[in-house]
Amino acid sequence: MTATAPLTLSNLTAHYGATKVLDDLSLDVGSGELVSLLGASGCGKTTTLRLIAGFLKPTQGSIRLGEIDLTALPPQKRNIGLVFQNYALFPHLSVLDNVAFGLKQRGLPAKDREAKARAMLDRVGLNALGDRLPGALSGGQRQRVALARALVIEPPLLMFDEPLSNLDAKLRVDMRVEIRQLQRANGTTSVFVTHDQEEAFSISDRVAIMDAGRIRQLDTPEVLYQRPANAFVARFVGFENLITLRVRARNGAVVAAEGAGGVTLGLDQSRLGEIPDEFVLATRPDGLRVVTEETGLPCTLGLRTYLGRTYHYQVDTAVGALTAAGPLSQPLEAGEAAWLTPELDQCCILPRETV
C-alpha cells in the first residue's frame, strides 16, 4: 500500500449559481501528508472537498494528483477514497460486499476481492461482522466499514468529510486516533474536513483555516495555536482580546504603545518579536491578567465567571470590552477598578487590518 501522491490545487474558484463560494484557492498537500480544512459552515471547506472529488466543477483553476490532472476527469475515474459524515454505506449489501464494492468496479475476481476485503475488515477490527447488513451496526462500526471501503481500493488520496461528527464524544477521540494510525501506516495523502478545532489540530500535519472561500492561514497546529497570522485566525484559535495600538516611542527593545482613549502600554520586542508602527495586540483571556496594582491598562470589572483553575472577568476599558483572568486567591467584585497586564509570552502581534 504505497500508492500515494501529492495533491495540488491551483487557483480554484467555484460558484453556486451567481454566488462565489471559493475564491482563488491554492493548496499543496505533500505526499503522505494529512491536511485539515477547518472552518465554520459555509466557509468553503466542503466545496473544496467536492471539487477534488469531482462532484462539483470549478469555474477556474486546476486540480492535480501526482502526475494526473484531475480537473476534467469524471468522479468515478479519480480513484479517491471518500469517507462521509453519514457513513453512506450501501444498505442492501453486507459489510463484506460494501468493502468489496470498489474492487468489484475494478474488475477483480470474486475470490481476490473477498480475500482483500476480509483482510481490510481485519485491519479495522470488524472481521466477525462481514456478513451483517450495515443497519445492524453501531455508528462507530459503520464508520470503520466506511473507512475500510475507502482504503481497500488503495487510493493515492483519501478524503474525509466530517467523518466523526455523528459519533459520541468518547468514540470520536478513539476513531480519530485510529484514522490517524491507519493513515500513517498506509502513508496515504489525506484531506480532512472538519469544523472542530481540537479534532483538526490533533489529527493533522497541517491545518488550513478557511473563511469566505479562502484559506486564511495554512500551517502546523502548533504555529496556528501560538502565532496566528491575522485577526480572523487569532479569534478562531481563542485570542479573544484584540487591542489596536500605535507605537508612540521606541527605546531599544522596549516600545511604548498608545491605544484609544490615550491608554499606553510598555511592550518588550525581545519577547514579542518585531513590532510595526501600527499593530494589534492579541491575547487569550488567560494572557491578560487582572491586577490591583496601578500598572497597565485601567479597567472596570464586570461579570466574574468561575472556571475551576481561574476566574474570568468581563472588563470595560478605554479600548473596548475585553475578557481577562484573575487568580482564585483574590476574587474581585463587579464595579471595582483594576488594571490589566498582558503576559507577553502569551501575546502575539498582528498586522493592523483595514477590516
Binding site: 472529488a53 462532484f55 468522479p75 468515478q76 475515474k77 479519480r78 480513484n79 479517491i80 477514497g81 471518500l82 462521509f84 453519514n86 453512506a88 454505506l89 450501501f90 444498505p91 442492501h92 464494492f101 470498489g102 468496479q105 475494478r106 466506511a146 471501503r149 481500493i153
Partner: protein
Amino acid sequence: MTQRLSPALIAFAVLVYLFLLGPLVIVIGAALSDTTFLTFPPQGLSLRWFEKIFEMSAFRRTIVTSLQLAFASTLLALVIGIPAAYALNRFRITLPSWLSTLFVLPVLVPEIVLGFSLLRSIQVGAGLPVLWTLLLGHTLIVLPYCVRVVSASLASFDFTIEEAAISLGCSPVKTFFTVVLPNVQSGVIAAFILAFITSINDVSVSLFLTGPGVSTLPIQILAHVEQFFDPVVASVSVLLMFLTVAVMVVVERTLGLTFLAK
C-alpha cells in the same frame, strides 16, 4: 399490559369489517349460484358460470386485452415514472416545486374528462389505433401512482450513497441500477401493484377509448349487465378479483426475490 376493549368498540370494528368484506362475500356467493339469474344467498352450488365465461369469446378476448393492457401500461409508466421520481428527488432543491405537482395532475382531472379529451385528441385527432390509445390512456392514469409511490421511497434515500458508489469507480448509470434501484425496490413493487390494479379495474377512461373489436374486461362486464342478468357477471368479477390478487402475489414474490439476489 392488557386493556379491556369496550363492547361498543368491538361492535363498531365488526361492522366495519362487514362493510368491507360483505360485497365480496355476496359476489362470490352469487357467482357460485346454480340459478340463471343473479341472487344471494346462492341457490344450489355450481361452477358452471365460471365455465360459461370461457365459452363466451367476448370475455375471453377482453380478459387477454385487459391483462396485456395492464402489464404494458404499468411497465411503460414505471419506465417513465422511476426516472422522473429520481430526478424530482435528486434535484429537489434546484427544480421548481410545481414540477412534482405536474405528475399528479392526471389524478386531479376527472377520468371522464380525461377519457373524452384523449378520445378527441389522440384517437379521432391523430387517428391512432384503438389499442394504442388505450395503452396511452392507461399509462396516463397509472403514471401518477408510479411517480408518487417511487418518490416516497426515494424521499428517504440518502443520495450521498450514490456519491460513495461513484467515488469507488462505479459509473453514474451503473450506480443507478446497482445502488439506487435496489434500495427503492419496495416502492417499485408497490407502484407496480397499484398501477396494475388501477389499469385492470379502470372503467371511465376505457369507456371512451374502447372501440370496434377492442374492449377491456370491465367494459365487457358493463355491456353484459346491460343485456343479461345472469351470474356470469358475478363469476367474471370474482375472476377479476383473483387475477388481481394473483398478480400482486407473483410480483411480490418474483420481483422481490430477483431484486434481492442482485
